[in-house]
């Protein structure tokens, strides 16, 4: 497999500027600034069909086109908060191929004519941030970032910003609040960040992997890109494989590759040759898929059609030895811990979910507690201020759907 994103796996020392440049690095950037109109770059990314890799799969070029032309300054903000359980791709890109990210940020800035880009890294990324800062300093020293680039009147500054431990800051409006120095709590929408974003100015927010796709597109064109992946989900994706498999890790594959190839061929199958029990296709946030989903293609449409979402493609594998209630309690605990506390259904609901799961797991649950759990999720779904509240219900709703027998077994002894 030829890598588009994880190119460092084929090219040693790609994190060094001269190596990156020897392999086409910053050529697309030079060409864009010296030869292309910003709109032409937006059109190119639109034509490539590149979709956001941070979760929602929103078309990147279209997002950029929403930025008003006549309001200044504007900003590009990179989401490197990477905190969804099971996700570890952005970190590999940042540590091993940092210049491709920087070039992608630069291209996004030029496309929307932003003069400043901020890369928001989760606070725990102290080491990755150091590597990225070094790459940024190199790019600056080489005149690739800075004032009057390549003799034009376009100037660009890129800054790193470390968060301080809060999953919710991955939600784009909470991220903006945090970057402005406030509590990381989501904002009302509308207005959308494209119009009223960072410091109330037009702002593009993209995931690390999304932007790392842009330099190869700028260099090789949209038609080349569209040859990879599926018609509606073009390109490759870095799939994070974790859980009960022999070879966990990041695997870059064309979108549309079936789960089976990832789990069995590349991941070396399940530890100890055990049977597959379930797949979490997008960390703790998405609905669990039963083992029968093994042949579903991993692209945005197919995973949605199978009843879940591809999200950031953090695939957690559960085998037959895994106690579903234990795994579910882990996930609801995550969301209770990460609820930002702004709205009641999420703040209280995640609390109740954990309490009920604990009771059932202690053997103190009654059969009707299964419906009580579902009731709590109904009071959360669609009623929370941001999507975290909905995410918090996914594991409960979907494990009760597919593994109700385990809940019944855990509550049966307590009769009515």
């Amino acid at each position: 497999m030829e890598h588009v994103i994880l190119r460092h796996r084929n090219i040693p020392d790609l994190h060094r500027l001269e190596v990156y440049q020897a392999h086409g690095g910053y050529e697309g950037w030079h060409k864009a600034v010296t030869e292309m109109k910003p709109d032409a770059l937006i059109d190119l990314v639109k034509a490539s069909g590149l979709r956001g890799r941070g979760g929602a799969g929103f078309p990147a070029g279209l997002k950029w086109s929403f930025i008003p032309k006549d309001i200044f300054p504007k900003y590009v903000v990179v989401n490197a908060d990477e905190s969804e359980p099971g996700t570890f791709k952005d970190r590999e890109i940042i540590e091993r191929n940092p210049h491709q990210l920087i070039e992608g940020v630069a291209l996004a800035c030029y496309a929307v004519q932003a003069g400043t880009g901020y890369i928001y890294l989760r606070g725990e990324f102290k080491q990755p941030a150091r590597i990225l800062q070094k790459a940024l300093d190199e790019a600056r020293a080489a005149g690739l970032i800075g004032q009057n680039l390549f003799g034009t009147n376009y100037s660009l500054d890129i800054q790193l910003h470390l968060g301080a431990g809060a999953y919710i800051c991955g939600e784009e409006t909470a991220l903006l609040e945090s970057l402005e120095g406030k509590l990381g709590q989501p904002r009302n929408r509308p207005p959308f960040p494209a119009l009223v974003g960072l410091y109330s100015k037009p702002t593009v927010i993209n995931n690390v992997e999304t932007l790392a796709n842009v330099p190869p597109i700028a260099l090789n064109g949209a038609d080349w890109y569209k040859k990879l992946g599926t018609e509606k989900s073009p390109g490759t994706k870095v799939f994070c494989l974790s859980g009960r498999v022999n070879r966990p890790g990041n695997y870059e594959l064309p979108l549309g590759t079936p789960f089976r190839v990832l789990i069995e061929d590349l991941g070396g199958g399940i530890i100890g040759g055990k049977a597959l029990k379930g797949i979490l296709p997008a960390g703790a946030s998405a609905l669990i898929l039963p083992a029968s989903a093994i042949d579903v293609p991993m692209d945005y449409e197919s995973v949605a059609a199978a009843g879940s979402m591809l999200g950031s493609a953090s695939i957690i594998v559960l085998d037959e030895t895994v106690d579903i209630l234990w795994a579910t309690e882990k996930m609801v605990r995550f969301f209770r811990h990460e609820s930002c506390g702004k709205c009641t259904p999420c703040r209280e609901g995640t609390h109740w979910l954990v309490r009920e799961m604990e009771r059932i797991r202690r053997g103190e649950g009654k059969p009707q507690d299964i419906d009580l759990l579902l009731d709590i999720t109904k009071n959360m779904s669609g009623k929370c201020f941001c999507l975290l509240g909905d995410f918090a219900t996914s594991s409960i709703v979907s494990t009760i759907k597919h593994f109700r027998g385990e809940y019944e077994a855990a509550t049966r002894t307590n009769g009515q």
């Binding site: 359980p85 952005d90 725990e124 968060g163 509590l183 974790s242 811990h337």
Partner: protein, 171 residues
């Protein structure tokens, strides 16, 4: 009081943003280094430099888990036992870590060397079991490796920059 060097460092961060307030997280990290946690005085110092009310700074500090409001050990261990790591034995390994140090989760060792905090996903799930010590990664842990690491911190052969800064600022 913030040292002159710490003040200068915060000033450098201010240049990155159009508002002073945006530098609150970097400033709090810098202020936290002197004692390992945020003292009321550190909060007041940051508020003064950023021209904010101490209560505002305190509420921001309270929101984020990497700011400590109480004294912590010289080294803070974040050990991941979130679902993907737990599927690879992290819960059992955390018990061993705690037993080695003679602490409960969230506890600090009697000699003040280590605080152990169970952590949510640290974006390294393919390298479980793993921990961060002062936010430096230590991955694919085995019991032997763990002993070496803990010894290394005790004897000073392993230094994270958080620890070395505390030493130099208090010197």
């Amino acid at each position: 009081m913030l040292s002159a060097a710490a003040r200068a460092e915060i000033e450098a961060h201010l240049k990155k943003y159009p508002t002073k307030r945006s530098a609150i997280i970097p400033a709090l990290y810098i202020a936290q280094r002197a004692h390992g946690y945020l003292t009321p005085e550190a909060i007041r110092d940051v508020a003064q430099v950023l021209e904010l009310e101490p209560t505002e700074v305190r509420s921001v500090a309270g929101f984020y888990s990497l700011f400590y409001k109480e004294p912590v050990g010289k080294h803070v261990i974040h050990f991941c036992n979130d679902l993907p790591c737990a599927l690879r034995g992290a819960d059992e390994f955390l018990k061993k870590l705690c037993a080695r140090l003679g602490v409960e989760p969230h506890g600090t060792t009697g000699d003040g060397m280590f605080t152990v905090e169970p952590a949510m996903c640290l974006a390294a799930c393919d390298r479980a079991p793993l921990m961060q010590v002062d936010l430096d990664y230590f991955e694919n842990l085995t019991e032997e490796k763990l002993d070496e690491i803990l010894d290394g911190f005790r004897t000073g052969t392993i230094q994270t920059d958080a620890a070395s800064v505390i030493k130099s600022e208090l010197a």
